[in-house]
Amino acid sequence: MTRTWLALALVACASPPPPAPKAAARPLPVVVERSDAGRCEASRGDDVLADPAVVGTYPKRIARLDQAALAARRKELGDRNPGVDFRVDVFGYVIAFGVPAPRGPLTTPAEIAQLEEDAKCAHADLRGFVSKETAVGKIAGAPAVYFMRAPTLERVAPLIVLPAPMDSALLAPKWKLTVEYARERVTIAPCEVAPLGATGTRAIRFRRASSRSRHARCSEKWTCQRNI
C-alpha cells in the first residue's frame, strides 16, 4: 500500500503542470522584422501619417486646418504612437517627429541614424518618414531628437496629379501682343554753353557733323560748336 502511494506521488510529480491562466488582453505589439541590413520590413499599419486629402478637381487645393483640427490631428498621432512628439504644419501634414534621446547629446551621425531607425522600427506609422535634417529639443523636459522632412510645399505639391494642359496651339492665340516699331530714339544731350567770346556775343551755333545743318537739336549725333 505504501509502495502504491509512493508510485502515485512520483507520477503526480512527473506530470506536466497545468497550463497557466491567460494573461489579461493587451494590445499586440507592432511586429517588426529586421533584414540583414537592420532595416525594418514590417508591413505598414494603418497609415496614420497619410497626408490629408487634396480637395478640388482643379485647381488642386490643400485646405488649411483650424486650431481645433490641428489639435485633434496631433492628439490622434500621439495616441497611436506613444512617446513620439509630432509636429504638423498648418495643413495637418506631419513635418517632424521627436523621440527621447537615450542618453546625453548624440554627437555622431551613426547614433542619430540608429535612433531614427529604432523609432521607425518601434512605430509602424513612422515607416514611410524620410527625414531631411535633425534637431535637438525636449519632450516633457527630457532631451529629445527631432527628425524633420521637407516642407509640404516642396514635398507634396510636386506629387499632386494635375489634368493635362491645353495644347500650345490653343493657348498661344489667347495672348494679345502688340509690338511698336520706332526709329532709334534720340536722346537730348546737354550742350556746352559758350562763354562770352571775344566779340561779346553769346551765340551758339550747332552744326551737324555730316550735313552742316545749323538749326537742329543738340543730341548724341550732333556736335556743339561755339561761335566766339
Binding site: Y58, P163, L170, A172, W175, L177, V179, E180, R183
Partner: protein, 78 residues
C-alpha cells in the same frame, strides 16, 4: 513711331509649368502657361520688310500668365 503690329501666335512660345501658391484658405497647385515672343524672328519676317531697318521694337502689352488647363487669365490670390 513707325507703326504698331500685332504679333501672330506663331511667334509665341508657350511654356507650361506647375504653379504653387499659398492662399489664406490653403495651398493651391495648378498649371500655368507663359508666353515668350520670338522678337528676332518677328522682326526679321514682319517688321523689317514693312518698315525697313534701323528700328527699335517695344512690346506694348504685358504677358500675363494663363491657366494652362482652362485657358483663363490667372486670378490673383482669392
Amino acid at each position: 513711331m513707325l507703326g504698331k503690329v500685332d504679333v501672330p501666335a506663331k511667334y509665341l512660345t508657350v511654356t507650361v509649368s506647375r504653379f504653387t501658391r499659398q492662399l489664406p484658405a490653403g495651398l493651391e497647385v495648378r498649371l500655368m502657361a507663359t508666353a515668350v515672343p520670338d522678337l528676332a524672328a518677328f522682326e526679321r519676317d514682319v517688321l523689317v520688310p514693312r518698315f525697313g531697318t534701323g528700328g527699335q521694337t517695344e512690346i506694348a502689352s504685358d504677358l500675363p500668365g494663363l491657366d494652362a488647363v482652362t485657358g483663363e487669365r490667372l486670378d490673383q490670390g482669392k
